[in-house]
């Protein structure tokens, strides 16, 4: 393994993120080839965390641009500090300098508010720019972003063109609520993050909730593998697993049973329909699956859990 990849993997581990080599390799290549890294995967698999680790690995600042519907170029780039401009106009009311000069003054750098994109390209040290949930912004914004990512320069009508002092490292995440354009994809390295495997998830639980018993962690891990096979509005991710583990622990539960799950359902399912469906339809079957695993006696393996999950009567 390339030493740098190993180092990034270790950093991912320290961040509580039990990394596989896929993530470490992608992060490394993105920094090495200086290409943006596009990360896709379901909500709650830890996509954003990867950007944080990249920043830590490079000892760089992290600048985050959260996308939302209606986000436009101006909001992402810069804004003028209107209050300051107004005050300045009032203060300089008495003097009779020419209009051009006064205008140039209030549209100068001191009155410019840098928003994430402009901020990212005007630092002395290249930062990591995280463009979070790019799929929530619209196509127009995507095209604009592509332009910035190609040239690393922006034009502000009042000031002129600002070129990047240092080209930032870029991470984009998407929950795939809409398909991104090919042009953007081709500009990026691609990383798909899936839900963790049984073993990996247990390890995450143990590390993040160290006081949990080994047995409960296993039960939780198996439960999650099974639950993710059910078609739900919002499939619970790793964050939900951890919330749930903490909730169970707070209620002094040391194993999963009907009451324990019912009391803590809210930590796991963030959608009313999902909670209702699990309560009325799936809970018995899920607990049966856990019971079947208990009966086997042997240490729970990925295969055994997968087998139990297979038995759930879910439609393909």
């Amino acid at each position: 393994m390339h030493p740098e990849i190993a180092r990034i993997r270790d950093l991912l581990e320290v961040g509580g993120y039990i990394a596989d080599r896929t993530i470490a390799t992608s992060v490394y290549l993105s920094t090495e080839l200086r290409k943006p890294l596009l990360i896709e995967g379901a909500a709650g698999v830890g996509k954003t965390e990867v950007a944080k680790v990249m920043a830590r690995a490079l000892q760089a600042d992290l600048i985050r641009l959260q996308c939302y519907e209606g986000l436009d170029a101006t909001t992402a780039l810069y804004e003028w500090n209107y209050q300051k401009q107004l005050l300045h106009i009032r203060i300089s009311e008495g003097n009779n300098r020419p209009l051009d000069e006064r205008e140039a003054e209030i549209f100068g750098q001191p009155f410019l508010l840098k928003r994430p994109l402009l901020d990212a390209i005007t630092r002395a040290q290249p930062p990591v720019l995280l463009v979070d949930e790019i799929d929530r912004a619209d196509e127009e914004f995507e095209a604009f972003l592509l332009e910035v990512l190609s040239d690393f320069q922006v034009t502000i009508p009042e000031i002129g063109t600002i070129s990047a002092t240092a080209v930032p490292y870029v991470v984009l995440t998407s929950n795939r609520t809409r398909e991104l354009g090919d042009a953007l994809r081709r500009r990026c390295l691609y990383l798909w993050i899936d839900y963790p495997t049984f073993e990996k998830e247990i390890e995450i639980v143990r590390r993040k909730v160290p006081t949990i018993s080994a047995h409960l962690a296993e039960q939780i891990g198996a439960f999650m593998q099974m639950v993710r096979r059910i078609r739900l509005e919002k499939t619970p991710g790793v964050a939900e697993t951890l919330d749930w583990s903490a909730a169970l622990l707070a209620l002094h539960r040391d194993h999963l049973d009907r009451d324990a799950v019912l009391e803590t359902l809210g930590a796991l399912f963030k959608h009313h329909d999902d909670a209702a469906a699990v309560r009325s339809q799936w809970l018995g079957l899920l607990l049966d699956g856990i019971a079947a695993l208990e009966e086997r006696g042997e240490p729970w393996s990925h295969e055994a859990v997968a087998e139990a999950a297979e038995r759930l009567p879910v439609r393909p």
């Binding site: 990849i5 390799t25 090495e32 009032r90 209009l99 809409r178 691609y190 798909w192």
Partner: protein, 393 residues
């Protein structure tokens, strides 16, 4: 031409561990691999190949898994692409089964390669193999399970077509405009545009004499049409396809599918200028015209295969069906619920709704109704004309 045969005797890379004996071999093999991927539909060109070469120079070539991960990150830009990549990778770089990663002695690493240099090398190789492997790939797959029935389409009179088009144009305009969350400046807006106001005030020495306003921009809605062409809809299908054809021509952003037991996308076929030619092409393209109906399965396969691309908070989904479903009711309910959640509005047009005494009691319709925003008849021109009212909201 087999891509591997370009590798001058198999090429050193095909052995494990990945060891470039001569640099030329690695590059020509890499280019061959990229051309194979391109032949299988991935968007891989010389620029991507050059990045792949740079990636190889940056990782440990002795490490097969790492090499694989690096090439995949550069060359496969989506989950589907990754699946294609996986198959192609193990096919192309044939590693001996037994080869264990060599622990001793690192392979001679490629010296760092910069972008321009990599592109130059790749381009040199890329031209040589041109015109070979692309065509080799992908024979069209047909499912023998689908009943292939070709339908003859009749034609409406020219007058009727004109009238349909006129009505549809009016409907489509109403549907097509919706208020966006983005602002633009406007003379009679409702929100103060402080940026422009200040700018204007400078002309008067900083005195604000007029307020400039902005308003929300009207933005195009996307429409997805799912049209039932199963046996029970036979009477209406012909008419409805014309409806869809007109709608698609009035509005740019209509994505059209027909379904009975399975789903087919016919947007491309309907794009033709000539209605008759378009209808011919549709009837040729759709394998199971007038089979049974599996609405749930069809809607689900729309969600799975096309949902990410065509659904958003701005998408209006129009389903045209009588709701006679021979499939699984639970599946239909789940699919409709997901559809409702991912689209802006779901409109169900039912040709039977106008029949006296019709109640939506058939199972499919009853299951689907809770997830439908507008439920309206669509059996003749008159009903379509009235439809405008429902769509305007």
């Amino acid at each position: 031409m087999e891509p591997r045969s370009r590798g001058r005797g198999g090429g050193a890379v095909a052995r494990s561990p990945v060891r470039p004996a001569r640099r030329g071999d690695l590059i020509s093999n890499l280019v061959g691999f990229c051309r194979l991927l391109r032949g299988r539909g991935l968007g891989v060109g010389p620029a991507e190949a050059a990045d792949a070469l740079r990636a190889l120079a940056a990782v440990d070539l002795l490490d097969r898994h790492e090499t694989y991960l690096a090439l995949r990150a550069v060359l496969a830009s989506g989950p589907d692409a990754q699946a294609i990549f996986d198959a192609a990778f193990w096919e192309f770089w044939r590693f001996p089964e037994s080869a264990a990663p060599a622990e001793t002695g690192r392979a001679e690493e490629l010296p760092p390669i910069d972008g321009a240099e990599a592109l130059q090398r790749v381009l040199r190789e890329w031209g040589e193999g041109a015109g070979g492997d692309e065509e080799r790939e992908r024979a069209p797959a047909y499912s023998p399970a689908e009943v292939l029935t070709r339908k003859e389409f009749g034609s409406f009179s020219a007058d009727e077509l004109d009238e349909i088009s006129a009505v549809l144009a009016a409907i489509a305009r109403r549907v097509a405009t919706r208020v966006s969350r983005r602002m633009r400046h406007a003379r009679r807006g409702r929100v103060l545009d402080i940026r422009r106001t200040l700018r204007r005030s400078l002309r008067r020495g900083g005195e604000m004499t007029e307020l400039l306003l902005r308003e929300r921009r009207v933005q195009k809605t996307r429409i997805v049409l799912l049209c039932d062409v199963s046996g029970s809809m036979d009477l209406y299908s012909r008419f409805l396809i014309q409806f869809i054809y007109s709608l698609q021509h009035v509005m740019g952003r209509v994505d059209t599918y027909v379904f009975s037991t399975g789903l087919s996308r016919i947007t491309g076929a309907l794009r033709r200028d000539d209605l008759r030619a378009a209808l011919d092409e549709v009837s040729r393209q759709v394998p199971d015209w007038s089979g049974g109906t599996k609405i749930g399965r069809s809607v689900q396969s729309f969600l799975d295969e096309h949902g990410a691309r065509s659904l958003s908070g701005r998408t209006v989904v129009i389903i045209i069906s009588d709701g006679w479903d021979t499939g699984d009711a639970d599946l239909l309910a789940a699919a409709m619920r997901e559809l409702r959640r991912r689209a802006d509005r779901v409109i169900w047009l039912n040709p039977l709704l106008a029949s006296p005494g019709y109640e939506p009691i058939c199972q499919g319709m009853r299951v689907a109704l809770p997830y439908v925003d507008v439920f309206a008849p669509a059996h003749n021109l008159e009903s379509l004309r009235r439809l405008e009212r429902y769509l305007a909201g």
